[in-house]
Amino acid sequence: MSQWLIAGLLFTPLAWAALSLLLGFRQGRWLSWLGMAIQMAVSLALWFAVMEGGGFYYALGGWNAPLGIALRVDGLAVTFVLLTAAVGTACGLHAGVYLDADKPWQRYFWPLFWFLWAGLNGVWLGADLFNLYVSLELISLSAVGLVALGGEAAALRAALRYLFAALLGSLAYLLGVALFYGRFGTLSLAVIDQLLVGGEPALIVALLLMLAGLALKTALFPLHAWLPPAHGIARSPVSALLSGLVIKASFYIAARLWMELGDRLGSPWLAQGMGVLGAAAVIWGSWLAFCQPHLKQVVAYSSVAQIGYLFLLFPLTFAVAEPVSLLAQQGITLQVISHALAKAAMFLAAGNLILSVRSNRVKALAGVSHFLPFSLFSFGLAGVSLMGLPPTGGFAAKWLLLQASLASGQWWWVVVLLLGGVLAAAYVFRIYRASFLEVSNSDDFYHPPQSLEAIPMILALLALGLGLVAEPVLSVLALPFEVVAAEAVHP
């Protein structure tokens, strides 16, 4: 059963990419709705299958790990596959209505969208270092394409910046892969994990290169300069995809590398250093978000800040007790999921708001709470999750990270976590404040279609509810995993 599901999961996005390239935007929309339904169903089924049967390796082409490419289908991977299906579907549905179907270049939206999806699934399931590189490139190029789609000069500039950053990051990663291959003669992460004994300098350099490349692609402070222009200027559904999912892909790889190899190749300095950069991202990103005059820039800088939390994974899992490490991993996982949902909701809602007031400026929102409470409400709910207030997923994540920080004695991260929440509140409430202002001549609002309003609301509610069902979601992380790699290494 699972075999069929995996095949469906891999096949659908690629096939839909090819098919939708042959169609225009409108027909592509119909086709994509079908595709999203299929992907959603397959992802759900796979999630439940793994819930019941545990994780496994899937050997592509029937060739096992070191020779062929094996996919690692474990609880975490299928959870992210499901997350991608949820956010992807939401953005796809939104885009179908939001984007102007009459523009000739929109026909390329769907192929890029589906290639992006395929790349994301490739990353979540990837267990092969080089395959991860190819998946990353697939993601980067389609993401850049989406940013630039039909763009004016500013969009192109943002896209070019993004492209160059992404390419540099990929090459740094690939260089690390080359070193690993030179040392171990394999690309399978599981096999490397088994062969790796201690911290050889060469491999430390390799890990550093890969982490640096991935950090650049994830827009970790101070390598974040490319992100806000790109995420701020793309069309809202695209921004939602980029902020919600795309930047998580490179982080996911970094996290996987760290969890597999970090115990032998990492050092306290590296771990704390990554944490400090993350903390700086939280503070600096939030501050910049607070200062932005444009609505979408606020949301984009908020992404820079929220990504910062993710990098607390490094110090909180390095040389700490097993339960503490687990707490941190769970916290980070929740943070990824809740940020993906909340940020996608926020961008989509921001898109609606912009559509409604016909301006991207925060100041233009005055009085909109009067007319568009629904999208504003979605925006607000998503904001609650970003602030880390209960009962949202963001709060659950923050709670677990707080516990992990306290239990590991690294109390300084507590300060960052709490301060980050306050700063997030500052920039979110700035938007509320602007929208609650009553001005007399503010009756000129456009009402977006209801379907546009419903989608961010659903995402925001998911982010909200995540905190309540965090326990079952997290339980998939501890699922048993069938170890095939061991047999493959020593036949």
Binding site: S369, L402, A425, G467, A470
Partner: protein, 498 residues
């Protein structure tokens, strides 16, 4: 699911669902919205009544599930919970009626009543929370759902007040979160338990526990309006009167006070807190806040601001009662939780009536209002007398029990504080009463409206009259079985006296 688990959830859902329905209703369907509001309020009152009866009979209402690794979401109705739940359910009904009248013809009612219901749901959650974590959950939800109400008018001033409100309360929330997370890391998931959790704990932890106590109280003190973190409360008075009445006089500040009661009794345990030497400083702080609030109230010209400073002062009675080491003081503190709520909401209703009917906001504009609005002014006068502590009204009962408690705990200086505070109460309230009844009308009302035969709209008139009746009854019938005083005694007997 058993009735024991079902009822607490229903109590929450009744207003949560009401909120959802109200948000979904179009702005223009006023009648339907009012109907939903009133039905939900009545339903909730019924549920709470049933639960109170059940708790009296010794039925255990509780429900819990694991929310995060190591943390449970837990609702549990004990006697203390029902005290707060009963108060908010009762006053929600009255305030809803009042708000319907108050907001007639004003915009954004859908938004207002939606968030209003959400607030009440949060308050109910705070009352029924079974552990510190769940308490915090609803505590923050209350913060968020009150913000739109504070800034409801959308004026620059309201937004500024909202900003300060959110800075204070979210700041307090962060501090509280720190305390809760720290405590959780130290001791795990802590359900509220009568004797607390730390009796006989490792002395090596006492230093940390003391620190955590300070952090927790600091976090909770913001909402409770304790000095020096009370600054948001007077400013938040720009909100519409029902908001000031229910939320700032009852739900929000009481949530803070209620939290302090929970922490002192059900987490630390009163004996342990006393042994750590934590109660004494808290008592001083409470006493200072009582006097400070009263003194500040003296000089306020704006009626609602004067009431706000009075609230700051009065809420600290509760905290003072809690810190009096002994059962009688506790009874006093708890009963004041209820009494003060009833009295203060009456005052705010009346203030709202003056504002809505006559356009009067300032104390010096009230000259002669007693003749124009006799019923409202009578209610106001009675509530004022209650506040001052004139027998046999509600406030007298509180002060009497508190005084007795202070004597029993041999903290005689508290009596002095009580006396001084009563004097100050009289000093800032009685001039208003004088103006109402004995000053002649000197100028036309700033913005008068007329509603037929009655002095003001019936929606606005009945709620203060009902609460006035209540504040007389709870005083007169304090000795009967179902009075708040008896209930507070029941709580103390059940929970704190083995």
């Amino acid at each position: 699911m058993s009735a024991g688990a079902l009822l607490p959830i229903l109590a929450l859902l009744s207003s949560l669902l009401a909120a959802v329905v109200i948000f979904a209703l179009p702005e223009t369907s006023h009648r339907l919205r009012t109907l939903v509001n009133l039905l939900a309020a009545l339903l909730k009152l019924g549920i709470v009544a049933v639960m109170t009866w059940g708790v009296f009979q010794g039925i255990d209402f509780s429900v819990s599930f694991t929310m995060l690794p190591g943390v449970r979401f837990m609702l549990r109705a004990d006697a203390l919970a029902m005290l707060f739940a009963g108060l908010s359910a009762l006053l929600w009904l009255l305030t809803t009626i009042y708000a319907v009248g108050y907001l007639e013809d004003s915009p954004n009612r859908s938004r207002f009543f939606g968030f209003f219901s959400l607030c009440v749901a949060s308050t109910m959650g705070i009352a029924l929370a079974g552990n510190l974590f769940t308490f915090f959950l609803f505590y923050e939800m209350l913060t968020l759902s009150t913000y739109p109400l504070v800034v409801h008018r959308g004026t620059e001033k309201a937004l500024q007040a909202g900003r300060n409100y959110i800075i204070y309360t979210l700041g307090g929330g962060v501090v509280l979160l720190l305390g809760i997370a720290w405590l959780h890391g130290l001791a795990g998931d802590l359900a509220f338990r009568e004797t607390g959790h730390f009796q006989g704990s490792d002395p090596a932890l006492h230093g940390q526990l003391t620190l955590i106590f300070v952090v927790l109280i600091a976090g909770l003190g913001v909402k409770a309006g304790m000095f020096p973190v009370h600054g948001w409360l007077p400013q938040a008075m720009v909100a519409p009167a029902p908001v000031s009445a229910l939320l700032h006089a009852v739900a929000v500040v009481k949530a803070g006070a209620f939290g302090i009661v929970r922490v002192v009794y059900d987490i630390y345990g009163i004996d342990f807190a006393f042994a750590l030497g934590l109660l004494q400083p808290l008592a001083w702080l409470a006493a200072f806040t009582i006097l400070y609030g009263s003194v500040r109230a003296l000089t306020q010209i704006d009626l609602k601001r004067r009431l706000a400073f009075s609230t700051i002062s009065q809420v600290s009675y509760i905290i003072l009662g809690v810190t009096l080491f002994g059962p009688i003081g506790t009874v006093g503190g708890l009963v004041h939780l209820l009494h003060q709520g009833i009295m203060k909401i009456t005052l705010f209703f009346c203030a709202g009536n003056y504002a809505e009917t006559l356009g009067v906001h300032r104390v010096d504009e009230l000259d002669g209002a007693g003749a124009r609005m006799p019923a409202t002014s009578a209610a106001f006068t009675l509530a004022v007398l209650g506040m001052i502590g004139v027998p046999p009204l509600a406030g007298f009962v509180t002060k009497w029990v508190l005084g007795t408690g202070a004597l029993a705990a041999s903290m005689e200086w508290v009596i002095l504080v009580l006396l001084l505070s009563s004097l100050l109460n009289a000093a800032y309230f009685l001039p208003i009463v004088y103006r109402l009844w004995f000053s002649p009308v000197v100028a036309p009302w700033p913005a008068e409206r007329r509603w037929g035969r009655l002095e003001t709209s019936a929606w606005l008139l009945w709620p203060p009259l009902v609460t006035t009746l209540m504040l007389i009854l709870v005083g007169l019938l304090a000795a009967t079985a179902f009075s708040p005083l008896s209930w507070a005694r029941l709580i103390v007997v059940r929970m704190y006296l083995p």
